[in-house]
Symmetry: C2
Subunit: 186 residues, 2 copies
């Protein structure tokens, strides 16, 4: 193949992307929900696993996923920093990763979202190198994966196709004493 044809071919590669939304700002989970909606609009098969957030919570996104008939898996037992039993939180999160692995290899999805997954690596519960090695070996070629959360480890950033950092320029809760708003923030 000529160099030009090779370039031409490369420009048209379609493959399942690994996308990471990280940083301290708003919009990491929210942007993942936007991709979820876009994919659903195209009748793609979408799954979401939400680490660390409470599995019985009734967030706007969970209500939406129910209305959209999207697979939504809650594994957390509430926010880690309010957890009374860190071992239980950790065990549930790690079980969540097992569930995610089963779903990822199943071939049943076009898009799979691992919401707040970076924390499992940032907290040292999972080894980022092993997670990346697993994804490299097992993620179906055409499956898109989105991983969200602060402090994305370097190994994951290196592996990902797309990494966006959400930076907080201005935030109403810290700056103005305005409470989080249903439908907007959760």
């Amino acid at each position: 193949m000529s160099a030009r044809k090779e370039t031409e071919r490369k420009r048209h590669v379609k493959k399942g992307l690994v996308m990471v939304n990280t940083g301290d700002g708003k919009g990491k989970t929210t942007a993942a929900l936007g991709v979820m909606t876009r994919a659903w609009g195209r009748k793609m098969r979408v799954g979401v696993i939400q680490f660390l957030k409470h599995e019985n919570a009734n967030f706007g996104e969970i209500r939406a996923a129910r209305r959209m008939e999207i697979d939504w898996i809650g594994t957390g037992d509430g926010w880690t920093w309010t957890s009374k039993d860190i071992d239980e939180t950790q065990a549930r999160a790690l079980r969540g990763w097992e569930v995610a692995q089963e779903r990822i290899v199943s071939g049943n999805y076009d898009l799979f979202i691992l919401d707040e997954f970076t924390y499992l690596m940032a907290f040292g519960w999972l080894d980022a190198t092993e997670v990346v090695a697993w994804l490299r070996e097992h993620k179906p070629e055409m499956l898109h994966v989105i991983i969200t959360g602060r402090d994305a480890p370097d190994e994951l950033v290196d592996f990902a196709d797309m990494v966006t950092e959400m930076r907080e320029i201005k935030h109403p809760f810290s700056d103005q004493d305005i409470v989080a708003q249903p439908g907007v923030d959760f």
Copy 2:
């Protein structure tokens, strides 16, 4: 009212927020779509006006909005930087702002999204000070507004309750010659 009660009261303020997603990275429109989905999950009344993008386009988000029965208004005649007739583009965009103003004051929405609206100010088609003055006077108190686009003007950033900058850390189209993917990027 005592200082403490005043603080207490302020902490529980609920009001319609003005949110801006800006920056050169991915996820500005996408995060707005995520809020749209969240709000829709809570059965809030949502409207979207998309400036500059083609009104006949069939993006994943437009298909989704149709499936969700969300008001979706396209005003653009295609991406400005591919436009053959810049005056027509500008006229349509400015007409879009008039439509947006009618919808904003209508009281028919809990969330209204002005997608790619910053460009109208960045290109000098609208005066940012006038836009902010109009919003300050006319936006219903409880209405949430999201404005997306690069190069958000300083006046808008000062006025907004929440501003997030999406920064591109890594992008597959520039770095790897991978094409934009339906359902993920559009």
